[in-house]
């Protein structure tokens, strides 16, 4: 009369259906999540691309303007260099020297200026030491000359002359 209720079976059924339900729900949810994430990633990718492009444009602009400046400043010498390289005649070697001379002299002057500034700074910082060194050299020179050691005396004299040339600034 009374059917035996198979609780175990019902339990299993319920579990099964619950599992299925959960799985389907999870699938649905995960699809949503994925879709959201994918969309965000794509947006991010676009933003990064835009930034990289603008950055690249900026860098290349600066690079080109720097090259322009370099070309402008060395325009003369490069121009003459290229022209004169095409002239491969011994009789025109003199012309090349005459044309290059003022450019070379300008370069040497600039180099000398830079070096002299460094020397001046050095002299100011070592002034005391130089003056004392000068006195020491002078005393040594007097002794060597007095004792008849001419070679050593002349070497010291040369050193003194160089030092005096520098110290003239201080006087």
């Amino acid at each position: 009369m009374f059917q035996k209720i198979d609780i175990e079976a019902i339990k299993k059924d319920m579990e099964k259906s619950l599992k299925e339900y959960i799985d389907t729900q999870l699938k649905v949810l995960s699809k949503d999540l994925n879709f959201g994430l994918v969309k965000d990633l794509e947006n991010l990718k676009e933003r990064i691309d835009l930034k990289l492009n603008s950055f690249q444009r900026e860098i290349s602009d600066k690079y080109i303007s720097a090259i322009e400046k370099v070309l402008m400043t060395s325009k003369e010498s490069m121009f003459i260099d290229t022209i004169l390289k095409q002239v491969d005649d011994k009789s025109l070697a003199n012309l090349k020297r005459v044309v290059m001379q003022p450019i070379l002299e300008e370069r040497w002057k600039e180099d000398l200026k830079e070096k002299s500034i460094k020397v001046e700074e050095n002299v100011v910082s070592k002034g005391e030491q130089l003056i004392l060194k000068r006195k020491q050299l002078h005393d040594e020179f007097l002794v060597k000359e007095r004792e008849g050691k001419k070679e050593e005396a002349s070497i010291l004299k040369a050193k003194l002359e160089m030092l005096d040339l520098v110290l003239e600034v201080k006087k």
Partner: protein
Amino acid sequence: MLFYPIEISQTASGGAWSFNSLDISGGEIEQIYVEASNGALDATPTTFDFYITDSKGNVIYDTQQKGIPATGTLNTANEVEFKPIPVMGILTLTVANSSVATETFTGRVMVKETKN
């Protein structure tokens, strides 16, 4: 008689100067005259020490031996006990401890050269 004056015209630096004479073949120092430029005029004359060194490093004349520095002008002609100093070779004349650091000095050391 051959007189050879070792001329002095120096400006002190740090209260001192020194220089070498020419090579003296042989002679005697007859007189030493060293004058500090303000020595004659100023109320406070410059004091200094003066000495002569020979080619072997001997100090053959030195105002410091007396312990009294020269004042204003050093003139051995005024010193009763000064005797001629025989010299040979290169001499170094030195002024040290000048009371005025950048004083100018003039004068001469008169050498009587003896011919051999």
